[in-house]
């Protein structure tokens, strides 16, 4: 059968899925997928290397957001930034990990919606401040925490930053995604006011806040259960 669309490059996708399922090293999986995709698209080796090289040079801006703050943040951590953040939150008696993260979710999402997307982030906020504070809030409640609970709180801190950012930034009218959508629709001959795209994002933004805040609320109950189970386990042994 004749098909106008070449389906072979999908083999690259298969490599990615298989690699991640087999828990192979992700860097190797990515490079293997590059090779398979190139071969499947019938690219000569030199063309493939050139494509990879051009793309690599073009995307060098991506890691900057991670690498640039490290010197300042690392230095502050050396002199006790995380410890100070923890002792501040420990003074707030009503603080729980879930409540703290709900406040952060609200702050992150609403500032991102005003275009202030760089007020959060994993290297600058989550690692030095948000995650240690959430852990400290739970510690103040329950004393020392099992490792599993610590890891769970940290993962939820990172998740909260992502969800706040994603569902906030897209209702800011000057954000890149809105510009992209506007350009694509325009190219198809459809005229839309970018402001309307931003406004119609609001129902989802609110829904996302409610759903994730509910999950953060449940996190507190989960921590309580896990701490109790771990204490009971120790009692038996």
């Amino acid at each position: 059968m004749q098909s106008a669309v070449n389906l072979w490059p999908l083999l690259g996708v298969v490599v990615v899925v298989a690699g991640f399922l087999l828990r192979a090293n992700p860097v190797l999986v990515a490079v293997a997928a590059c090779g398979v995709t190139g071969v499947a698209a019938a690219m000569p080796v030199m063309t493939l290397l050139e494509s990879l090289g051009t793309a690599f040079v073009k995307t060098r801006n991506l890691p900057l957001i991670l690498l640039l703050p490290l010197a300042a943040i690392g230095l502050l951590e050396r002199f006790g930034l995380r410890e100070q953040a923890q002792s501040v939150i420990a003074k707030v008696r009503s603080a729980t990990a879930g409540r703290l993260l709900i406040v952060y979710l609200f702050a992150r999402e609403s500032t991102a919606a005003m275009g202030l997307t760089s007020l959060g982030g994993h290297p600058t906020m989550v690692r030095p401040l948000v995650a240690p504070m959430a852990e400290a809030a739970a510690e103040t409640q329950y004393g020392s925490l099992p490792e599993r609970v610590r890891h769970r709180i940290r993962a939820m801190s990172a998740a909260t930053d992502n969800i706040g950012l994603f569902f906030g930034e897209d209702i800011f009218v000057a954000f890149g995604a809105i510009v992209l959508m506007h350009t694509i629709l325009q190219a198809e001959g459809i005229e839309v006011n970018p402001l309307h795209i931003a406004l119609w994002g609001i129902p989802t933004a609110i829904t996302a806040f409610i759903i994730h805040a509910w999950n953060l609320h449940r996190l507190d109950a989960e921590i309580r259960r896990e701490v109790a189970a771990s204490a009971a386990g120790k009692g038996v042994a």
Partner: protein
């Protein structure tokens, strides 16, 4: 003179070169030569990448990936302050330690909003094409100066601390970069067209609800594969959104676009391909399970995706 992103490529290149040299000299690193080679190559690609032949860059990228993939990138023993010293420092600095940490985002926001239109000698002060990143670079420098002043340390100590953090993250630092390359290669090879072809050929769109569901779930699935909603949007909007939702069912284009992009973001929350959001934080927070952040996001991402289907279904013809 305009402060451009190229200046910060050089700065990051020098930082990575510092990481490479420090690892090379560190006998506590069990793989100090391969580790130094890895960070040295990355430094080279930042310092001189645009002047090298693209094929050579591609070959070096594969070299780096092999070094990382076969356990060649390790960390030295981190040298931190003792508990006593750190406690003394916390007591001395108190809440002042937050000042540099908060200066970083504040300067970034200031640069991206207030200093945006400032010109020096007829040229913009900050590169308008990469305004946020350049502002963030300025914020990082201001924060480092403030941190050095506050803790009476040298910038070299800052580089040592950056090395400690880079070492701890290891290859996770370059994963987003290599995945972005894969994403571009996917587009170039026509993976997007192939996926759109499969979804539109084999799924009937006779019911309005099924068409909406295919559009939203397709956005999410496509983003899971490509790791980036921006790559999914043109394909699904072109394949389903515009011809079916707008063309057949008269949907409001603004609603289709807004909710479609948010459906793609649900996919971003569920894929290791979006490494800078999902895998790098797991490394930064020292989580043993590299998928822990994705696992934490699933119970929010899936209900939001379902909500999106219903929101689009009910709002698109208002």
């Amino acid at each position: 003179m305009t402060l451009t992103i190229e200046h910060f490529y050089i700065l990051v290149g020098l930082l990575l070169a510092g990481v490479a040299i420090m690892n090379l000299m560190d006998r506590s690193n069990p793989r100090r030569f391969t580790t130094a080679l890895f960070w040295g190559l990355y430094a080279l690609l930042y310092l001189a990448g645009e002047r090298m032949p693209p094929a050579a860059v591609g070959a070096l990228m594969i070299g780096m990936a092999l070094l990382a993939g076969f356990g060649g990138v390790k960390a030295g023993a981190p040298k931190t302050l003792g508990v006593e010293e750190r406690r003394a420092s916390v007591a001395r600095l108190g809440n002042r330690i937050f000042i540099p940490a908060l200066l970083l985002p504040l300067v970034t926001v200031l640069g991206a909003t207030v200093l945006k239109d400032v010109q020096i000698g007829g040229l913009p002060m900050l590169d308008p094409a990469h305004l946020t990143l350049v502002s963030m670079g300025c914020g990082a420098i201001v924060a480092l100066i403030a941190a050095c002043w506050l803790t009476r340390s040298t910038p070299l100590q800052g580089v040592r601390e950056a090395r400690r953090l880079v070492d701890a993250m290891s290859w996770a630092v370059v994963l987003p970069h290599i995945l972005a390359v894969l994403g571009l290669l996917f587009s170039e090879a026509g993976v997007g067209k192939a996926v759109a072809h499969l979804t539109t050929t084999y799924i009937g769109m006779d019911s309005r609800f099924i068409a909406v569901a295919v559009f939203c779930i397709g956005m999410a699935l496509f983003t899971i594969v490509m790791g980036n909603g921006f790559a999914a949007f043109p394909v699904m909007a072109g394949g389903v959104g515009i011809p079916v939702l707008i063309g057949m069912y008269g949907a409001n284009p603004a609603v289709m676009a807004a909710i479609g992009m948010f459906s793609a973001y649900c996919g971003t929350l569920m894929t290791p391909m979006a490494a800078n959001f999902n895998i790098v934080p797991a490394a930064l927070l020292k989580l043993p399970d590299k998928n822990a952040v994705i696992r934490a996001q699933m119970p929010s991402a899936l209900p939001i995706l379902v909500a999106n289907i219903f929101l689009l279904y009910f709002l698109m013809n208002l």
